[in-house]
C-alpha cells in the first residue's frame, strides 16, 4: 500500500441513478506526474473531488499516503494541494492576502512562503492587486500558487492550464516539471488538452463514462503509440496471411475498421506494397505513421464505446 501516494479501491459515486464514478481503481506512485485524461463529463473532476474530500463516495475507499481509515485520510489530506474545477478566491482581497488566508488555515509558519510561491508562478509584481481585477490567466496562476503554498507532497490539479496564454502554458508546464523533479512532488493533472499532458506526464489514467479504462506508464504508452505502417487493403484477412507467410512477421495489429498497423519493415514500405500487390491485393493506402496521445485516447474511447 505504502508504495503508492494515492490508491483508490472500487471508488464509486452515484448521483441519482447515474454512476458518475464507477469502480475506479487508481494507483499513483510517488514522484509521478499522472495525466488524468477523459472527455468532458467523464468523471475526472468528481474523482478529484472525492480524493480531496469535497464529496463522499457512494462506495469504495481512498488511501492517501498509506492511510487506513477516515481519520488518517483527513490527516493525509493536509499534505495535498488542490486546484479543482476553477480557482477560488476572495475577489476583494489581494493575491497576497488570499495566500495569507491559506497560510493561516494551514498553519504554515512565516510569510516567506508567500513571496516564494508568488515568484514561482510569476505574480510577484501584481501581488498587491485585488484579485477581482485579475485576468483569467492570472487567476489560474494564483490558483496554482494556492495549491503549492504549503509545499504539498501531492498536487491535484484539475484543468490547471485553462485560460492561460501560450507563454503561460509553457511557464506552468516548466514549473510543474521543476517542482516534480526538484522537490519530488507527485502531481495528478487532469486536462483535455492532451498534447500538454503528453509533454509532462510520466503515467496516465484514461477515464470514460466514470470507468478508469486504462492506466499505463509513459513508457508503455510510447510503446503502444510506436511507429508503424498503416495499411489499407481490399481484403484484410488475406493481407494478414500474406504478411505472415511472405514477410514472416507477427508484429501487426488489425484495427476495428479493417486497417492494419504493421510495426516491422518500417523502412521497407515499397517492399511491403510490392508483396501485397503481387499476391493479388488491391492496396488502398500504405503510410508511415505514429500515434499521438489523441489517437490513442480516441481509439481507446471508441473501442470502449463499441464494447457496450
Amino acid at each position: 500500500m505504502s508504495e503508492y501516494v494515492l490508491q483508490t479501491m472500487n471508488l464509486s459515486k452515484r448521483y441519482r441513478n447515474e454512476n458518475v464514478v464507477d469502480q475506479v481503481n487508481m494507483k499513483i506512485h510517488k514522484g509521478d506526474i499522472y495525466g488524468f485524461i477523459g472527455l468532458n463529463g467523464a468523471g475526472k473532476s468528481t474523482c478529484i473531488r472525492l480524493i480531496a474530500g469535497l464529496t463522499y463516495p457512494t462506495s469504495g475507499t481512498i488511501h492517501l499516503f498509506g492511510s487506513q481509515d477516515d481519520k488518517q485520510l483527513n490527516e493525509a489530506r493536509q499534505k495535498i494541494g488542490t486546484l479543482i474545477e476553477h480557482p477560488a478566491f476572495f475577489p476583494h482581497l489581494t493575491a497576497r492576502q488570499n495566500l495569507e488566508v491559506i497560510r493561516l488555515q494551514r498553519g504554515v509558519p512565516g510569510k516567506a512562503c508567500i513571496d516564494k510561491v508568488l515568484k514561482q508562478v510569476g505574480l510577484a509584481e501584481t501581488s498587491n492587486k485585488k484579485v477581482k481585477s485579475f485576468s483569467l490567466g492570472m487567476k489560474q496562476r494564483l490558483g496554482i500558487a494556492i495549491a503549492m503554498l504549503c509545499e504539498p507532497e501531492l498536487l491535484l490539479l484539475d484543468e490547471p492550464i485553462n485560460g492561460l496564454d501560450p507563454i503561460g502554458v509553457i511557464e506552468i508546464r516548466e514549473l510543474l516539471r521543476q517542482i516534480n523533479q526538484d522537490y519530488g512532488v507527485t502531481i495528478l493533472i487532469s486536462s483535455h488538452i492532451l498534447s500538454e499532458v503528453h509533454q509532462i506526464a510520466t503515467s496516465y489514467g484514461f477515464i470514460h463514462q466514470g470507468k478508469l479504462i486504462e492506466q499505463l506508464t509513459a513508457k508503455e504508452l510510447d510503446e503502444k503509440c510506436r511507429a508503424h505502417l498503416l495499411i489499407e487493403v481490399d481484403n484484410t484477412a488475406r493481407a494478414v496471411t500474406v504478411l505472415e507467410s511472405k514477410l514472416h512477421t507477427l508484429q501487426y495489429e488489425v484495427l476495428p475498421d479493417g486497417k492494419i498497423k504493421l510495426y516491422s519493415h518500417l523502412q521497407e514500405s515499397k517492399l511491403v506494397s510490392k508483396v501485397l500487390m503481387e499476391n493479388g491485393l488491391q492496396l488502398e493506402q500504405i503510410t508511415p505513421h505514429r500515434d499521438t496521445l489523441e489517437d490513442y485516447f480516441t481509439s481507446l474511447v471508441k473501442g470502449e464505446s463499441s464494447n457496450e
Binding site: R49, G53, L54, T55, N74, T82, F90, H92, Q97
Partner: protein, 269 residues
C-alpha cells in the same frame, strides 16, 4: 482549530460587509443622538415631537454619554439585530460557498465540524461587535453632544451587565439560526431570503398569530425573537433567569446540530 480561528478572524476583519454595517451603525447613532440634542435644544418644541430613548431604569439620570450607552443596552432593537446578524452571516458564510473558497478549506482535511465551529465562533464575535458598536457609538456621540455623565449605582450597573450577557446569549442563538440558513444555499441572495424570511415567520408572523390563537401565544414565549424583544432584567427571579438562559441556549444547540448535519452531508463545489 486555532489555525482555523486565526484564518476566520483574518477574513472577518477584511470583510467589506462588516465595515459597511459598522459605518451604517455609526451614522445611524450619530443621527439619533443629533436628533436628541436638537430636541434638547428645543428645536422641536412647537411640533410636539419628543425624541428620546426612554427606559425606566435610567430615568433618574440626566442625558449623557453613559446614560445613552446604558439605555441602548436596555432597549435592544430586535429587527436591527436580526438584520445585522443576517447580512453579516450570509456574506461571511454563504459568500464562501458562492465564491468557492470553502473548497480550499475542506480539501485541507479539517473535520467539517471544526470548520463549522470556527466560522460560528468568528461570526458570533462579529455580530456581538456590531451590536456593541451601537452602545459604544451612543456613548461617544452622547458624550460629544451632551456630557460624559456619571456611572450609575452598582445595582443598575449589575443589571446592565446582566442585560448585556443575556443579549449576547440571544445573539448567539440568532447567529446559530443564520449560520444554519447560510450553509444550505450557494447564493448569498437565497441565504439572506431564508434568514430574514425565517425571522418574519417565526418572529413577526407568530406574533400576529398570537393575538388570535392561544397556542401561537404559548409557542411564542419560547421563541428567541419574541423573548429578545421583551427582554427585561428588572425584578428577575431565578426561574426567569434560567428560562431566559435556556431559551436561547436550546435554540442555538438545535440550529447548530441542524447546521452541522447539513454541512457534513453537503457536496462542496
Amino acid at each position: 482549530m486555532n489555525n482555523l480561528l486565526r484564518a476566520e478572524w483574518y477574513k472577518l476583519m477584511r470583510n467589506k460587509v462588516l465595515w459597511i454595517l459598522s459605518f451604517i451603525i455609526i451614522g445611524l447613532t450619530f443621527l439619533l443622538v443629533l436628533l436628541q440634542y436638537l430636541d434638547h435644544q428645543g428645536m422641536f418644541a412647537d411640533t410636539g415631537v419628543k425624541v428620546e430613548i426612554h427606559d425606566e431604569a435610567t430615568e433618574a439620570y440626566p442625558i449623557s454619554g453613559i446614560k445613552l450607552f446604558i439605555e441602548s443596552i436596555y432597549s435592544p432593537d430586535l429587527f436591527l439585530t436580526v438584520v445585522l446578524t443576517s447580512v453579516l452571516g450570509v456574506y461571511f458564510i454563504t459568500g464562501e460557498h458562492a465564491n468557492g473558497t470553502i473548497k480550499n478549506l475542506v480539501s485541507i482535511g479539517y473535520q467539517r465540524s471544526k470548520i463549522y465551529f470556527s466560522k460560528l465562533i468568528t461570526f458570533v464575535s462579529g455580530s456581538i461587535m456590531l451590536v456593541l458598536l451601537f452602545a459604544i457609538s451612543f456613548a461617544i456621540f452622547g458624550a460629544l453632544f451632551f456630557e460624559i455623565g456619571v456611572w450609575p449605582d452598582s445595582d443598575l450597573l449589575f443589571r446592565t451587565l446582566q442585560m448585556l450577557l443575556l443579549s449576547w446569549l440571544f445573539i448567539i442563538a440568532f447567529a446559530a439560526i443564520v449560520m444554519f440558513f447560510s450553509v444550505i444555499p450557494r447564493g448569498t441572495g437565497v441565504g439572506l431570503l431564508l434568514s430574514i424570511g425565517f425571522y418574519f415567520i417565526a418572529g413577526a408572523g407568530l406574533r400576529m398569530l398570537s393575538y388570535k390563537y392561544a397556542l401561537a401565544e404559548k409557542i411564542q414565549n419560547y421563541v428567541v425573537y419574541y423573548r429578545y424583544s421583551t427582554l427585561d432584567v428588572n425584578n428577575l427571579s431565578l426561574a426567569n433567569v434560567v428560562e431566559l438562559t435556556m431559551i436561547p441556549l436550546c435554540t442555538a444547540i438545535i440550529f447548530i446540530i441542524s447546521g452541522l448535519f447539513v454541512l457534513q452531508r453537503k457536496d462542496i463545489s
